[in-house]
Symmetry: C2
Subunit: 464 residues, 2 copies
């Protein structure tokens, strides 16, 4: 946990921003795997962590803005539970570390909310994502699950705090990134023809666990880098393949890292791989250089798209001018994803609070319709203290190519004949994490090799 | 997956047992970690796996007993999803492998059930454990979550099938046990003073992952073996400690292993540790020898309790006769848990269906009140084909000792003064998995060392 003052100050700011009513923050419950008593490893809700720091299931908290009091609701262990779970620090003691002096049994929460409702005070709550918390909110607020209305005021107030990372939060993220860096180097040292993808997953998971960290998301470790959300690890790597490794850890306090590297299974990239890799790498490097306060991330994304289009024009796969191609979204046949997203206590930071608030503003809302652009999670102007990913990529997705080609879509910008040579190329992504600083940006972590030469050189020296 | 006939035959038997109405089986959904799109690794519901074998989220199935038809409900990927998730085998194709020829979109399920309800046909469903499936059932059946009434007929019919393991299921369990055996040997090779508990977790997880298997439950790897459900791995092992390692994997098809070994951090057990260990080991060996069809597991548990009481009497911690001590439940101060449980597609097999049906019968119901006995998950008569664990233990739980001592509880059977010497001793458990055979039982897996000599000898030779 951070210092008591940290949590007190965060809650004080929240209280000031929300102004009136009752703020209800629900902690997470355990999620059953295949029966009630066999849960997945517990992960606390990130907003609950941010304001209270307590890592324990079945808690809720009230910040009563009108009455200026804060209460943590939860049930202390009884003797039966102590027999099974050992003596543990009480909720009372944990709450005190977060500067909360009042704790009550969980069952008292309903009564508290009922009273507030009778007083016609507004009850602010966040959009629930755990099904159990949807049910709980419905019960607590006597509202059907479909009619629950999360508080936009609360959402905005929390985002305005959590999006600006404190120094101690940045330190946590650096830790996460540095462990993640090591995982990436290890995968580069190990990968060779004949190996199964899951052997790489296994090795990097061990490295994470040895640091008492855990994956911040299910890693993507695949020879099929063009499959964007791919959690299958059963393929055998073979000569000529590339490995796309998108993996990161979170620290014990919950702060995430999120990195991607793509490298050849052989000692060197093929000429074709190298050519495409260098396009992505250039977009990766040049996008970073644009990061500073006041720049809209949407424009950084656009400039990455132009660079990718230009590279693919030079390669012969695209045609026309890069600017015009991007204007017509021709680049989205190859770069279907967003350039990056916020990162912090969640790998996609605050995604549960809604992308329309986290990544965009009401004045400049998200384009939710256009292919490619609708996958850009972050569009708004950068501020000092933002932490985000930069992750350009080029992906040759056979099904998507077929669909476009069948319509001869954007044929002025795509050379479908030339493209057919890349149909089974796969996908490349390169991703690092950055902090927006006073005048620019700072790479988080100690840095990880990314150029063709660096990767080939590293693999030549360190392959195990 | 097993053969098409396997699933067809299992469903045919189920249909015959349930006799009439509509059987609704829900698959599992993904469980979010900290936001909707960041899920834990998916695990299919075990009953769904048993009858359909399809490992994919958001499926449901109807076995219409009256109309003799089976339908799998689920949504095929659209092109947008194929772009993100790659081309995959269709639900249609997967269902066909399970012998189901009819698949429909998920949204059609509600209409099907509505119709059946209008025809006043009974809709059989199982007790939901995923909160999302509680919500789904409530919506599908137009019933409040609290009023959902699972079908006892269906529960009993499924238990009657799943409790008798097929040969191919036993093979799967053997695989799981053999990987688990290796994990236990590895932990014994590695553990030494100065090491963190999580380093052992990390190493055995890698071993599991390298076999493309995963933990069947969060392992208990601790120097505090007396804490029965302990998922904390932050302690440093030191000379004089014992490590209790309760861990197992499940195969890719979902079949579990569940083993425990306890061993010293030093080269050898201390004299005191050895004395207590040998009591547990004797109960472990003698309990196994009693396993055969027709024997009530409750009685095997009782005989283990008597052996443990006798051992503790010999040690001086208990007094009186062992039989009488057990009759008064004095052993439950040290042996608070059950001797074992069913195991199969779930590590506590079918626990979601209700212990009262899985482990007991209506004629001979579970004792849900008496401390110790209420933790015995399995009491009923054994049948050929049952797979179960045998896991006696002795645990010195300071809080429990204090509570009993304050009341001077069962002072004729407990020597509290002598006991005070063991207050911080910790806990010991030894656990293996068995199949009930025609005339007796069979140890599952290739066997794992368990005696003091075997463990000390192994550690002397193989410590790394």
């Amino acid at each position: 946990m951070f210092s008591t003052e940290t949590y007190q100050n965060r809650r004080k700011t929240l209280q000031q921003n929300v102004k009136e009513g009752v703020i209800l923050l629900l902690g997470n419950s355990e999620s059953p795997i295949n029966f009630e008593d066999n849960p997945y490893p517990f992960r606390q809700d990130s907003s609950f962590l941010y304001y209270f720091g307590i890592q324990e299931p079945k808690l809720a908290a009230i910040i009563d803005v009108d009455q200026e009091k804060t209460i943590v609701f939860g049930d202390e262990l009884n003797i039966d539970q102590i027999v099974w779970m050992g003596i543990q620090e009480t909720i009372q003691a944990k709450a005190e570390k977060a500067g909360v002096t009042e704790t009550r049994g969980f069952s008292e929460l309903e009564e508290y909310l009922k009273k507030a409702k009778n007083q016609e005070r507004k009850i602010h709550f966040l959009p629930p994502y755990q099904p159990g918390n949807k049910m709980l909110l419905s019960k607590l607020l006597k509202t059907s699950i479909d009619s629950l209305e999360p508080s936009v005021e609360l959402i905005k107030a929390i985002i305005s705090q959590r999006e600006i990372k404190e120094e101690q939060e940045v330190e946590q993220i650096q830790q996460a990134v540095n462990i993640s860096n090591q995982m990436h180097l290890l995968a580069m040292q190990m990968a060779k023809s004949g190996m199964k993808e899951f052997e790489l997953v296994s090795a990097i998971q061990k490295l994470a666990n040895d640091h008492h960290a855990r994956f911040s998301y299910q890693p993507i470790i695949t020879k099929d880098g063009q499959i964007l959300h791919n959690h299958y690890y059963g393929n055998t790597l073979k000569s000529g393949d590339m490995v796309l490794n998108d993996s990161g850890v979170e620290t014990a306090m919950g702060y995430a890292g999120d990195l991607t590297r793509t490298f050849p299974v052989d000692a060197k990239f093929t000429a074709k791989q190298k050519a495409v890799y260098n396009i992505v790498h250039r977009a990766f490097k040049e996008s970073q250089s644009l990061l500073k306060p006041g720049v809209a991330f949407k424009e950084v994304h656009r400039s990455a798209a132009v660079l990718i289009a230009q590279g693919l024009i030079d390669l012969g796969v695209m045609k026309g001018t890069a600017e015009e191609a991007v204007h017509h979204n021709a680049h989205t046949l190859f770069f279907q994803t967003g350039l990056g997203h916020m990162m912090g206590l969640d790998v996609h930071d605050m995604e549960d609070l809604g992308e329309e608030y986290v990544g965009y503003t009401e004045d400049d809302p998200k384009d939710t319709k256009t292919f490619g652009w609708k996958s850009l999670r972050l569009g708004k102007s950068l501020k000092k203290g933002f932490v985000l990913t930069v992750e350009p990529g080029i992906y040759f997705i056979p099904q998507l190519i077929d669909m476009w080609q069948a319509e001869n879509r954007l044929k002025d910008f795509i050379d479908y004949e030339e493209l057919s040579k890349y149909r089974n190329f796969g996908g490349i992504r390169i991703e690092d994490n950055f902090l927006i600083t006073d005048e620019g940006h700072q790479l988080l972590g100690d840095g990880l090799i990314s150029s063709v030469d660096e990767i080939e050189d590293f693999r030549a020296k360190h392959l195990i």
